[in-house]
Symmetry: C2
Subunit: 176 residues, 2 copies
């Protein structure tokens, strides 16, 4: 089983402005309307675990963007909107237990999304892979991808791709 | 004139452990004894501005590693050791004034080194270029390259090089 973070950060390591705004990410010139490999990544995974905040942000989009099952990590949310009943479900409890139960259901590659969710998994050393896209801007402040934790984790660099001579996307896999 | 930061960071953005230790950087497998482009970079610059702490760390090395003039930013240090009198000097005062005076002396490309020094220049928007080498480890804690500041700076990605399929070195130039 593999848990994978797929995310963009500023040069100073922020995944969003303090209020969650992603304008700096949306502003990237993209004449060829590339998805920078996102659909190929979604093809590789069996499901997505995200936090409640990310889920609520996605709900505000015009269209539901995922063609893989979404598991919303929440102890407060009780159910998902009716029109998403076959696309998303609530999961709760210990992260390790959730992962085991999803593995039993055939989810071998899980995309872990949302700042708080990523940090919760990371603090328990439950992230196997990072795919980080560096955006060439220093934001000065925002929501960081990483925060202090009493844990050191070594990774192997697998590959780096450059998009539009602007974005640097690197893939790292945890060394067991 | 160009001010350039050339530095390595962990995936979580640290340039050293909390006590300044760089063991995680020294541990990188380097069978070919590559300098990962450092000598070529030193050839490109006309001088190095570093803080007192970095200078004192360099003094503890067996050999003086630089073949370009070093300017030590310090208001407390009054002179450099006698054996370095033709290699290093103390500079003090406003950063902009220091840069103007060094430019008048023929320093067009300046390497800015040391965490605190880099952050001081950055807060005054006085960094033109970043060459950042990403090391595939999450340290969990340490001295960060970037800290919060009320300033957003856009960069252009110039090039990325991969060394030993481990280090990802990206060069970014400030967009005027």
């Amino acid at each position: 089983m593999s848990t994978i973070v797929y995310i963009a950060t500023s040069l100073d390591g922020y995944i969003a402005r303090k209020d969650g705004n992603l304008d700096w990410l949306m502003e990237i010139p993209n004449p060829g309307k590339s998805d920078f490999g996102f659909a190929a990544f979604l093809n590789r995974i069996d499901g997505i675990i995200m936090g409640r905040k990310t889920f609520e942000a996605v709900l505000s989009f015009h269209e539901w963007p995922y063609f893989k099952p979404v598991f919303v990590l929440s102890s407060t949310l009780k159910k998902v909107p009716d029109n998403l009943r076959d696309k998303a479900e609530i999961v709760t409890g210990k992260l390790k237990t959730i992962l085991t139960s999803l593995k039993d259901r055939g989810c071998n590659n899980l995309y872990i999304d949302g700042g708080q969710t990523i940090r919760s998994f990371l603090k328990q050393d439950l992230i196997d892979e990072f795919i980080i896209t560096k955006v060439p801007v220093i934001l000065g402040s925002g929501i960081p991808l990483f925060t202090d934790m009493p844990l050191e984790i070594k990774f192997a660099h697998i590959e780096t791709e450059i998009f539009n001579n602007t974005l640097v996307k690197s893939r790292y896999v945890r060394i067991e």
